[in-house]
Symmetry: C3
Subunit: 314 residues, 3 copies
């Protein structure tokens, strides 16, 4: 195994060329870099309006090969489509509810909106109705949007799959490879088919090494286990930004192997706590090639599917 | 629905008049404002002593209409009475234990006290005994006080209702509308009557929309669901301070709709993680009228009662 | 009970002598002191290599008197031996796996290592094999090391006892009394004997005041309850540093009675949230004599054993 010091010397050659890195003698400090997102700043309006048309419906969602979920979601995908805008943009969402059985909405976090766009008492679409909600995305960051109206308030809709990411880019952020991660917990009673567990007429199938007691219950972007969850990729030298949003029933952590970052609060870490409905944006300048795991560090959740691969090439 | 931009222009008129707000061109940055509480500062003694007489007893506590809890509490209320002082005050608590069955105490957090006032091995009141404990409240903030002596150490007493808020005002804090929130988890085995669930001879009653599997188990200030939990109120232009203290069995988050704040750590958020015995003080200058939910974002806890209303009028 | 103010005056005499403390008039601000660990700084290489030989094996571990755990661990102890180095050191671990039944590894956090030392796909020791992994410990702090290869990925090995502390001293840190705390959760199915609970032919034994429903499941440094967990000790005037690392199945908090500290994020606290695989280093200048509890503030975890004593003498 080659020494890490040899590795550092190789990277040191890039010192004069890369403006984003600091030089400490003949060493390059590539990782971590402080976050480019000033989370405490309000940005002025851009004058631009971005409109998103989103439809809620019921569909089968494949959490992993053969694991079929009786889902309700935005635009037939879990998570829902990214609502990606620039800080200061005005956002208009035209939301159509094709679920015949319950009202639904789209509620979000941090950005400004009047109570009419809150998605609880106002801004709710009854079955076969379309409503419009509007947000002013004047704070940068990564936030969840989710149902807050149907099936026991917000909770039944989120369990069924009604959540997605709101991404607000800061004007001064570094252009980066962006990895959007939504941590969510699935409801065993909504599965139509679950590998390893017989449901109705379906016989149980075999389970693999990580398929523990919570199998297929904990997901990354609606998918479980590394062969099915997002396979993120970057190259050495890339600026890499992670947008991690937790939106399920449980408390999670988020850990990436072989890397570390400075949180907006100034603390160095490689594993952060995320309760339901919380979120974190962080970044680094990539310097460590290999196939790395990212996962929740709660053993049951990791065993249950909340893990994936991040591959860095030279 | 009116555009948010129209709303911003209206607020802009107040720019020259309101000293607390920043002006960004013709816009007013009302929300958030940085916390006025310097949480890392020790304040000098004021020379004042504030004395509180508190009695522990057993009583029936109505967690929600018809949900009757077999409680033990301070001064027959859950949470116990606010111990509200100025930073630097000396605090004397005369604690009388009228629970005939167990010793109890009053332990607190962050502020200074000698081991004799710790409420574990010293400062414990046996049944029908009165003890005196003393604290020097030289750090500002919002903290729990709670039993740490009876019924399995601290745990049985907290479950029964023996907790309350300690509020220490900083001398330099802005005068504000203050909302004190204690998040707590109730023990299903201590309920005498529980709506929707038959207990003993009592038949089950109907349950409402949010009454899920954890019904009446998770409370705000000892009360469950918006029709019974505190209905906080403010006006546009008010400085609003939240003192959120978690003191139960579970990890919670605390989310307020349509608002956001800068934590003491500098991170913008609208939803924070709070483990048992942790606490957070934050504030904003109110700018968003409407009826807003505040709640724990854990679905089971929200369904179980940990939610309430915050109404902002113009 | 003597007044706290008398206590402060006594400490005031030390003002001119102790360079670490601040003086506020005739008062001494002993506690808290800001952390000496700059968690966001990368330290240059020292040029030194420190080598550790670690063997994995199966053994009986006494979680508390009479509570016998069917353990797998590093060097026959739980937690494993401290890997204690100076920031900038190169670390070499020679890991021998004497568990005949499963592959195992040593994965760690924050410090730099190439993917060959990750302990997941590479750097894994099969039964009766020895592997070498190397880290560059260029970030100071307190981190877990743990198995990430055997028995359901990382999770079975951690449950069995395969975890330990990595301690990286910053060159500019104050010399201190150091208390290393690893919070872990034990698996009831791996106990061979459990006081109070009959297992196989063993009859249940008596249980004490704190032996609640989760008894012996939650531990400090592999041991449960104050008569068996580490009894930490310091003197007034000592600089005391805590290195708290959480590595089990559950979310915990860590609270020390009668004290408080400023986290790396600048927030004053006496109780912090720690999810699985997270960690915190903090410190204070000791000023409060007595026998103090330290514990997780989750009632079930405290009742289950996650508590101990910290004694401060004058």
């Amino acid at each position: 195994m080659p020494s890490l010091r040899h590795f550092s010397v190789q990277l040191g050659l890039a010192c004069a060329l890369v403006t984003l890195v600091g030089c400490d003698g003949d060493r390059v400090t590539l990782n971590p870099t402080p976050s480019a997102n000033n989370t405490a700043k309000e940005y002025p309006p851009t004058g631009k309006t971005k409109t998103f048309e989103i439809t809620i419906s019921k569909f089968d969602w494949e959490v992993a090969p053969g694991a079929i979920y009786d889902a309700i979601g935005y635009n037939k995908t879990i998570p829902g489509p990214p609502i990606e805008v620039d800080a200061g943009d005005h956002v208009v969402i035209k939301l159509t509810n094709k679920d015949p059985d319950a009202p639904h909405s789209v509620h979000t976090h941090v950005v400004r909106f009047p109570v009419g766009s809150d998605g609880v008492m106002y801004g709710v679409a009854k079955p076969n109705e379309t409503v419009t909600v509007e947000w002013d995305a004047v704070f940068a960051g990564s936030f969840p949007y989710h149902d807050h109206a149907g099936m026991g308030g917000e909770t039944g809709g989120i369990r069924a799959g009604l959540f997605g990411p709101l991404i607000v880019h800061a004007p001064d952020e570094v252009k980066a490879v962006e990895n959007v991660v939504m941590l969510s917990d699935f409801d065993v009673t909504r599965f139509k088919l679950l590998p390893g567990v017989g449901i109705g007429d379906a016989a149980p199938s075999d389970i693999g090494e990580y398929r523990g007691g919570h199998q297929y219950m904990h997901t990354i972007d609606g998918r479980a286990y590394p062969e099915w969850s997002p396979h993120f990729r970057a190259k050495v030298g890339d600026h890499v930004r992670w947008r991690v949003i937790s939106i399920g029933q449980e408390f999670h952590t988020f850990h990436v192997h072989g890397h570390r970052w400075i949180g907006a609060d100034g603390v160095m870490t490689d594993n952060i706590n995320l309760g339901p409905g919380t979120y974190s944006t962080f970044e680094w300048l990539e310097d460590n090639p290999g196939d790395w795991l990212y996962h929740c560090h709660v053993p049951d959740h990791m065993e249950g599917g909340m893990m994936g691969l991040y591959t860095v090439t030279k």
